[in-house]
């Protein structure tokens, strides 16, 4: 099924600890996932399975994680290239893109998560 949720992106400690280590698998582990509460995640699959997150601005494959700190209908992806594949580039006239509050659709997928290099290569 396709779950319609609102996406927030932001800092996590593991994302920050790998800020100078972005070619590593640790960075991918720390940033290429999407958190939902267990009720929402339950509609999509088991934690650890892959999901496709799709917005008006792009799509990206990340790992599904559970975090019950998220209210219903709120997804969280740590800041970084995977999150930024789907965020809203419009700065609303003040320089700041829409990193939070993006309507997205999330669905289960068998596609794999792209490595950082592969993800950026899509833009070339």
């Amino acid at each position: 099924m396709t779950l319609k949720v609102t996406l927030i992106t932001g800092r996590t400690i593991n994302q920050g600890a790998n800020l100078e280590n972005k070619t590593s698998s640790d960075y991918l582990e720390a940033t290429a996932y999407c958190e939902l509460n267990s009720k929402d995640a339950g509609f999509l699959g088991k934690p650890g399975s892959n999901v496709k997150v799709k917005s008006r601005h792009g799509e990206v494959i990340v790992k599904l994680k559970e975090n019950n700190g998220n209210p219903d209908g709120i997804a969280f992806i740590p800041m970084g290239p995977w999150a930024n594949a789907v965020i809203d580039p419009d700065t609303r006239g003040c320089g700041m893109p829409g990193f939070k509050g993006i309507p997205v659709e999330v669905e289960a997928t068998n596609d794999r998560i792209l490595l950082m290099k592969e993800l950026i290569a899509r833009y070339k």
Binding site: T6, I8, G10, R11, T12, I13, G16, A17, N18, L19, E20, N21, K22, T23, S24, H57, G58, N67, N68, G69, N70, P71, I74, F76, M79, G80, P81, N84, A85, V86, I87, D88, P89, D90, T91, R92, G93, C94, G95, M96, P97, G98, F99, K100, G101, M116, K117, L119, I120, A121, Y123, K124
Partner: protein, 432 residues
């Protein structure tokens, strides 16, 4: 073995100044008292060894000399009509000064990572000013502390211990027991879990909730509906009572306000709330700055150009208008025709559309590490790490300037040296 005491951490805006660094040879072997973020940076990761260049962005890099890379950078900047010089937050003030000079020299636009962080806070400060204080005042006095759209447990791990929650100070000798902690956030974060009161705000409704608090504070609770932005009126009324009861209140805010719907208006409204609370008791407000010296760039850029960031030198005089001259506006409009990314990673932290444009224009990266910006770069110049291998000045999130000492000797040229040489070469090419 050498031991450096009271060393400063070059990671986040807390700039903790109580680290003990143990070195052996020219290698750091321990970073005592540092949090996970600081330790990861100080202990280091795999570095880019030598300058690299390529013409085809899909091709492989070829190692070149510093001279070749600097010459190519100067050519790119001189041949560009609209160069963007972006990043700066992970560098010292001495680097910023040279960067601003280079931007002026090439008639470019200089912008820093605040653009995707607290840039909107600067806009709000233009509107309202900033009733603030040092972190020392918060540590010694605050008895009510609010974190709004900010999660220090993950982003500023030692903030609570050193300054705001657990810290014991002159008038706050009870530490955590003497402070009321309030967290307003969309998600129940780890910071919310240690708070006395958690306000769960519906995503994008911060402006409404702050407006409701202002209405209640000014005695107009009667006009506030039963729930605002997902928060029950009863909880809002109770929160205003708690805020008013403070002897010294401090509000810290993060990306939850700057990046959500309303952007700078959220902060504008929050600052108004602080002004109004000051009619009852003492209140201060402070942005939780991310990079250790993002505040420093705002300071240097303000004293050099009159503006904090997003400064356009195309007219020969500084011009500033975020929304027009900020990095993502330029890239979104496909206006920048070359970019120099230094001490920041646009490739990782800009929206796909912006990175797509960076992939189409000549890009120079000046950075110790391989990251997504490297993937779209033509020229890569590795430099020494500021605050670890290079000494200089940085500004803590509260605007206190601090002097960083070297922990070890650099194995690469410093950003200052590289920028000096680029500027010199730019002048030669222009025939000045």
């Amino acid at each position: 073995m050498a031991v450096i005491t009271d060393a400063l951490c070059p990671f986040c805006g807390c700039t903790c100044d109580d680290l003990t660094i143990v070195t052996e040879g020219n290698k750091i072997i321990e970073a005592k008292h540092a949090c996970k973020l600081g330790a990861a940076k100080i202990m280091g990761h795999h570095r880019i060894k030598a300058p690299m260049m390529r013409t085809d962005k899909n091709g492989n890099f070829k190692e070149v000399s510093y001279e070749e890379a600097i010459n190519e950078t100067a050519k790119i900047l001189v041949n560009s009509k609209r160069p963007l010089l972006y990043g700066w937050a992970s560098a010292l003030c001495e680097v910023h000064k040279k960067g601003i000079l280079l931007a002026e020299e090439v008639g470019g636009i200089i912008d820093n990572t605040a653009s995707v962080c607290h840039g909107p806070s600067t806009l709000a400060v233009h509107e309202k000013g900033l009733p603030t204080s040092t972190l020392g005042q918060v540590k010694n006095r605050a008895d009510v502390v609010v974190f709004w759209g900010s999660n220090p447990v993950q982003a500023h791990p030692r903030h609570m211990g050193r300054y705001s929650v657990f810290a014991k100070g002159f008038f706050s000798d009870k530490g955590r027991r003497g402070r009321k902690i309030i967290v307003a956030d969309v998600r129940k974060t780890e910071t919310a879990n240690i708070a006395d009161e958690y306000i769960q705000v519906q995503q994008g409704s911060d402006y409404l909730v702050i407006s409701a608090l202002r209405a209640i504070l000014s005695g107009h609770a009667d006009v506030v509906p039963d729930a605002v932005g997902g928060v029950p009126k009863e909880q809002l009324v109770k929160l205003v009572d708690t805020l008013k009861a403070a002897k010294f209140g401090a509000v810290f805010f993060g990306m939850g306000l700057t990046q959500s719907q309303g952007r700078y208006k959220n902060i504008d409204n929050a600052i108004s709330l602080i002004f109004e609370l000051n009619s009852f008791t003492k209140y201060v407000i402070m942005p939780m700055r991310g990079h250790y010296n993002v505040t420093g760039f705002g300071q240097v850029c303000s004293w050099e150009t009159g503006f904090a960031t997003a400064v356009d030198f195309a007219r020969g005089v500084p011009y500033y208008n975020p929304g027009e001259t900020a990095a993502n506006d330029l890239l979104l409009r496909k206006e920048a025709d070359a970019a120099m990314i230094i001490a920041g990673d646009a490739g990782a932290h800009f929206p796909a559309n912006s990175v797509r444009h960076l992939a189409k224009i000549p890009v120079v990266q000046i950075d110790p590490y391989w990251n997504p910006t490297t993937e779209v770069a033509n020229v890569v110049i590795p430099t020494a790490i500021c605050g670890i291998e290079v000494e200089g000045t940085a500004y803590r999130m509260d605007g206190v300037s601090l002097r960083y000492r070297k922990m070890i000797e650099p194995t690469h040229p410093t950003d200052m040296e590289v920028l000096d040489r680029i500027t010199e070469r730019v002048r030669e090419i222009k025939g000045d």
